[in-house]
Every structure is written in C-alpha cells, then in structure tokens.
C-alpha cells in the first residue's frame, strides 16, 4: 500500500481515494516489496520475549513482586513490537486511520484490565 506515500490524509480523503476500486486494493504488490527482514526479526523477537517470560516464571529466579513487574514489562514491550512490525503502524494512509482505532484499543484494553483487577481484588478483602 506504499503507493499512497506519507501524505497525511483525513479519513474522508483516504476513503474517497480508495473507494470504488472493487477488489483492486487486494491485488498483491510483490514487486514493490523487499525481503521481509523486519517482520522476521519481529517474529523472532516476539518468540524470545515469550520464552524469556516463561523461563523467568518456571525457574523462580526472582521474588514475586519483581517477577510480576518484569513479565508485565515484557508483555507491554511485545505488544508495542507487534503493533509496530505486524500491524503496519508506520505504513499509514494518514494518521487518522491509525489513531482512532488505537485510542479505542487503549480505552477498551485498559478498561478490561483495570476493571478486572478491581473485581479480582476481593480475594484479599474477603476471607
């Protein structure tokens, strides 16, 4: 989809440009693609991060609080990596295409995680 370059478009403009192409935007553009080195590195990186967390948990090398903090950090880092490498964060038609869904994702993810923590806190409060 690099044909659109980096010009920032509003949602409306991007929509108008792409519309009425039938299925055309599905046509592969392999000629323009280089060897997917970034993606492969991202894939291996994700695996390494996962196994690092697994190793830390299985071997009890850290006290619980530190362990939690570290696997949380690894998870956030991996989420960022995947967003950047696989979700085409940088190959945008325009900022608007990326930001609105991204805000939504953060809103919902934080809501789910935050409220889940709130709900599950009862374990410490109730015997």
């Amino acid at each position: 989809m690099s044909e659109h370059g980096n010009t920032a478009l509003t949602i409306k403009e991007a929509y108008e440009q792409d519309n009425d192409k039938g299925l055309k935007f599905l046509r592969p553009h392999f000629a323009e693609e280089k060897f997917p080195a970034v993606q492969i590195a991202g894939y291996i990186g994700s695996l390494v991060l996962t196994f690092a967390a697994y190793f830390l948990v299985m071997n009890h090398v850290l006290p619980p609080a530190a362990l939690l903090a570290i696997i949380l950090a690894l998870a956030v880092f991996q989420a960022g990596l995947q967003l950047g490498v696989f979700m085409h964060l940088k190959e945008s038609r325009g900022l608007a295409w990326q930001l609105i869904p991204l805000y939504l994702v953060f809103l919902i993810a934080l809501g789910m995680v935050g409220m889940s923590i709130w709900i599950m806190l009862f374990k410490s409060g109730v015997s």
Binding site: L23, I108, M112
Partner: protein
C-alpha cells in the same frame, strides 16, 4: 497388538458412549455417510461439490453453507432440548442417567450459541452485506472461506464427541473446577476447548473481515450515515467480535493448558485462580450476547421499514443507540457473577451499568414502533416475527433488569428464572430475528419465496410454543428450582409447571418440522422471484436479480441517499434499465482455492489428536496448517478476470441490458 486394539476401543468408545441410543445413532450415521457417498458417485457430483462448494470463495455460496450448517445444528440443539424437557417432565424420572443429562445440557447450550446462532448470523452477513453496500465481495474473500471452514471443522470436532470419547459435561460456560483434570478426566472437555478455539479463530477472522468490508468497500457516495441499518449492525457486531473473542481465546487456552500440560492457572491446587476464568469468560460472554442480538436489531430495522413502506424512523438515533449499546456492553460483565462476592462497590457499579443498557434498547424499540405508525403494514411472515419480537424482547429485557438488582439476583441467580430470562431474549430476539431474516432474504438467496401460509403456521407454533415453554420457568425459578438439575422429588409443587413447559417444547418441535417442510416444499414449488424485488424493497440488494450473479453488480452503483434503491425507484431509475453495453468492463474476481478447506481439515486433525493427547496425529495436523499457510502466502495467482462479454451475456439473458 490386541492390547493396542483394546486401548483404542476403550479410549474411543468408553462406557459413557456405549449407550443404546448412541449406538443406534452410530449405525444411522454410518448408513447416512454411505448413502451420501453412493448418491454423489451415482449422480457424478463429486466434481461439482469440489468446484462449486468446497473451494469456493464467493460470499453468496459461503452464506448458503453457513445456513445449512446452522439449520443442522438447530436440529441437533433442538433434539437435545427435547431430551432435557423429557427428563424434567416428571419428578424422579429416569429417562437418562445423570451423567448423560450433564452432557446433553452442555451440548445444547454450546451448540445453540456457538454453532447455531453464530453461523446463522454469519450466513446473513455473507448473503447480504456485500450486496447492500454495492460491492463485489467481502474485503478478504479467501479469509472468508477460511473462517467458514474453521467454523465448520470446529463444529464437526464438537459434534463427534458424543460418539467418540464422550461429550463435554461442564455446561456451556465450562467453569473450573468442573473442567479440572482431577474431577473430569475424560476427553469431553478437551473437545469443548479445542472445538471452540478452532471455531473462535474463524469467528475472529470474520469480525475483521466484515469490519474492513463495511468500512472500506462501500459504493461511492454511501457515507456512514447513508448505510442501511443492517450494515451498521454488521459493523458494530464485528467490532464487538474483535474485542470480545480474545478474552475467550485466552480463557479457553489456559484451561486447555491446565488439562493437557499440567499448568495451574485455574486449578484449586498450586495457587490457581478459578474465579479468574469466570471473569475472563464473561468479559467475553456479555459482549457475546450482544453479538447475538445486534445483527437482528439490524434485520428488524430493514424488515419493519420494508413492510411498513416507510423509511426507518429516527435513523440517527438508531445509530447512536447501537453505538451506545456497543460501548455499554463492555462494562456490565460482572452481572453474571454477582454472587461471587466481589463486594458492594463492584456489584453496585455493574448493577447500574447493566440497567443503563435498557435505555438505548428502549430507544430502538420506540423507533421500530414509530416506523410502523401510520405505515401501510403488510403482514408477511417476516413481519409477524418482527411483531412478535417487540413484546417478547421487552419482557426479556425487563426480567434482565430485575436480575441486575443485585440483592434480588442472589435469589434469582442460576435458577429457572435466569433460564427463562435469557431464552426470552435469545429466542425472542435472536431466533425470531433469524427466522424473520430467513423469510425476508430467502428470495434473494435462492430465487424463490418461502410459502407464506406454511410460514404463518410455523410462526404461530413457534410463538405459542415459546410462551408455553418459558412462562412456567419464571415461576419454577421463583419456587426455587435451580438450573442444571437432573431430577427433582415430588412434592415441591414443580411438577405441573414442568409438564406445561415440556408441552411447549413439543409445540416448538412441531414448529421446526413445519419450518423444514416449508423450506423443502418451497425449494420445489415455491413462487419464483422473477423481478429480484419481491417485497418492493429499499436497499441495494433488491436492485439485483435473484439469485444474484457471481459478480453481483455489472456496474458499481453510485449512492446519493439512504434507502438508495427506494430513491432510485422513486426517480424512475433502475440498475437494469440504465445499463448500456459500453458501461460493462472486465472485473477482477477472487479465484477459488482449496487452501481454506484444507486448513480446516488440518485443524480438525490437530484438534482430534490433541483431544486424546495423541501427539503424532496432532503434529501431522499442525504441519498441515503450516504447509497451507506457506502455500497460501506464496500463491500469487489468486484472482482472475471476468470478461466484460461474459457479464454482458449474463445481464442480457436476464433482460437487464439496454439495446
């Protein structure tokens, strides 16, 4: 060698599946399969089965396959329901053993939600969304076929459990510790988790596909506020799927790890947290109930406008309320486990947020009523379901609000009152909506109408049967009858009400028989739809001939207003009359591919191997998946050109080409 054989027999056919009724079904299945094979060979249809169906990426054919699967599953789930009602009809009955009863209600719930309602909804998405937005297919046709085959193979895996190895028996919610290996050692729950993981993968992909389709593939001029309401509901449902299925996937995968690899996420021992499963499941579960009903809100909006011959009342408000429901439905999930004891703060918050949802829902109800107000209403079968839906759903919603009153829910929870509530919304909303849609869009999908007189019979049987079945259950709940009990003693005053409920279930069973008869009869003798617009419709799918040609639109239409087709007709235009030969160009269409089918089969093999921990088989399936993905990734030859002449000929033969 004999020890190997006895191991096989013991694992695949443990005593729990060696029941007389199941053995009878086994025999029937074997004969059925032989019959199908003989039929296909005799009539020489293997080739066309492969070319036209198994490898297709056409959204219209995928819709038909979803529909067939959904109706089959409706049958299976319905038989389970009748078995449940038979067992409960009398106190102390021994229609089946307790262990089998557990398997039957688990199967009933899981099949109805994941393998009946979901594919039925996807059948509607596939059948009409591309047509409504003026597109030639969905955004990712190959992914769409993959979604279908993942769903179908997940459903197949779930359905073999009762003849091979034994069914899951921990309820459709599969709470630990019921699912824990220590308490539930058979393969049943492995089947459940794997089947749902595989089908869920397909569902997530469907969500992505239709989100992109509705955002990106609309005909020029069709702005968001000019989309038909059904397209809005598709978009919102897809967004709900996208965010709701990951928590389910995580919860299922963690449960599976507990069972297969000895982890202890949700176990009672080793610091596991069973309550976390409940939290994750309903984090998915509540949005899921809206995934099940919002598409039908869309259907009703189309049906009510068409048969009242009026534009939908309060369209912008309808959009706002559907979006409000989407957001609110993420903030109510604790109402499914108030009794877990999370404390007054948490419970009060989620009780209130639950009641809030009733407001946008009420807005929609009023808008449907105002649409009918002063309209010239045609009492078709589809419209009857619409009229039945409104009071049924309102009562279901009202009992939902009662359940959301936390102190009261401590009484109602897991009683037959809850059972009556959710059947009230799921049958009154989802099933009535699905049937309404079936009658409404059948001519578009198959080229003939369903017989209306038979349809009305089926409708009245369903409607009456529904109320006879579930009204008594509210009172049973208030009298203390809890859900998922296998039998009850005489003298609790439950007997009469249960008998009435069982009679109602039989009436609904009769309704299903009439429905099937209606379908079969109409396929043969039904009135052909020659115009493509039998209901004097409002949206673009009715501008096309029925059934719709492969390429959908010979020329992509330009949209100027809401209810685009109605507006065109008002101006005396049509897609057909204005099409000149030089307007038709070659179009690019996706090409058929066996990959989606093969990847589904590979997942089935992998799931089956994992269910029994037969790792070599699981690995073979896994390798199949990887090979399919690799092959698909390097398959550049994925589309073909449909020549303009072919399109011209087709359109001319339909009398839709000028000159």
């Amino acid at each position: 060698m004999p020890s190997f054989v006895s191991y096989l027999i013991h694992t695949l056919f443990p005593p729990s599946v060696r029941l007389p009724d199941i053995l009878l079904i086994d025999v029937g299945l074997v004969f059925g399969i032989i019959g199908i094979v003989v039929f296909l060979t005799k009539t020489g249809r293997w080739g066309s089965l492969w070319r036209d169906w198994l490898t297709t990426v056409d959204h219209k054919k995928i819709a038909v396959m979803y529909l067939i699967a959904a109706l089959l599953m409706l049958f299976r789930g319905g038989v389970d329901a009748l078995m449940i009602r038979a067992q409960l009809a009398a106190p102390g009955a021994h229609f089946m053993p307790a262990s089998q009863y557990d398997e039957v209600f688990t199967t009933h719930g899981t099949i109805m939600i994941f393998f009946m309602a979901m594919p039925f909804i996807f059948a509607l998405f596939n059948a009409v969304v591309p047509l409504m937005i003026g597109a030639r297919d969905v955004a990712f046709p190959r992914l769409n076929a993959m979604s279908y085959w993942l769903f179908a193979m997940g459903a197949a895996l779930f359905n073999v459990s009762f003849i091979i190895g034994g069914s899951p028996n921990a309820g459709w919610t599969a709470y630990p510790p019921y699912t824990g290996l220590a308490y539930n050692p058979g393969p049943g729950e492995n089947y459940y988790f794997l089947a749902l993981l595989i089908a869920g993968l397909g569902t997530t992909m469907t969500g992505i596909n239709f989100l992109v389709t509705t955002i990106r593939m609309r005909a020029p001029g069709m702005t968001l506020m000019k989309m038909p309401m059904f397209v809005w509901s598709t978009m919102v449902t897809s967004a709900l799927i996208l965010f709701a299925f990951p928590p389910l996937t995580v919860a299922l995968a963690m449960s599976l790890f507990d069972r297969l690899f000895g982890s202890s996420f949700f176990t009672l021992a080793h610091g596991g947290m069973p309550m976390m499963y409940v939290n994750l499941f309903w984090l998915f579960g509540h949005p899921e109930v809206y995934i099940l009903v919002i598409p039908l809100f869309g259907v009703f909006s189309e049906v009510v406008a068409t048969y009242s011959r009026k534009a939908l009342f309060g369209y912008p408000l309808m959009v706002v309320s559907i979006l409000a429901i989407m957001f609110l439905s993420y903030g109510t999930w604790v109402h499914h486990f108030f009794t877990m004891g999370a404390g007054p703060g948490v419970n009060a918050f989620f009780g209130l947020s639950t009641m809030l949802i009733a407001i946008p829902t009420g807005v929609k109800i009023f808008n449907w009523i105002f649409t009918m107000w002063g309209g010239r209403i045609q009492m078709t079968t589809a419209m009857l379901y619409q009229l039945a839906f409104i009071p049924t759903f309102v009562i279901g919603g009202a009992t939902g609000v009662l359940l959301a009153v936390v102190p009261a829910d401590y009484q109602f929870h897991n009683s037959y009152f809850l059972i009556a509530h959710f059947h009230n919304v799921i049958i009154g909303g989802t099933v009535f909506g699905l049937l309404s849609a079936l009658y409404y869009w059948w001519p578009k999908m198959f080229g003939m109408k369903l017989n209306e007189r038979q349809g009305r019979w089926a409708f009245w049987l369903f409607f009456i049967g529904f109320w006879v079945t579930f009204t008594p259950q509210y009172f049973l709940g208030l009298k203390g009858m809890t859900r998922r009990i296998y039998t009850y003693p005489a003298g609790f005053g439950w007997h009469q009400l249960n008998v009435i409920s069982t009679v109602g279930a039989l009436i609904m069973g009769a309704a299903f028989v009439v429905l099937v008869y209606n379908i079969v009869w109409s396929l043969r003798f039904g009135e052909r739809d020659l115009t493509g617009d039998p209901w004097d419709g409002r949206t673009l799918e009715w501008a096309l001939p029925s059934p719709v040609p492969e390429y959908n639109f010979a020329r992509i239409p330009v949209v100027h207003e809401r209810d685009a087709w109605w507006a065109m007709k008002q101006r005396g235009q049509s897609l057909a009359g204005s099409l000149r030969a030089e307007d038709v160009h070659d179009v690019e269409m996706p090409k058929n591919t066996p990959i989606p089918f093969l990847i589904g089969v590979s997942f089935f093999v992998m799931g089956f191997g994992m269910t029994f921990k037969w790792w070599p088989i699981a690995i073979i399936g896994f390798i199949g998946v990887i090979l399919c993905l690799l092959f698909s990734g390097f398959d550049y030859d994925d589309h073909h050109h449909l020549k303009a002449d072919v399109i011209r000929n087709t359109e001319a033969s339909l009398g839709r080409l000028q000159g």
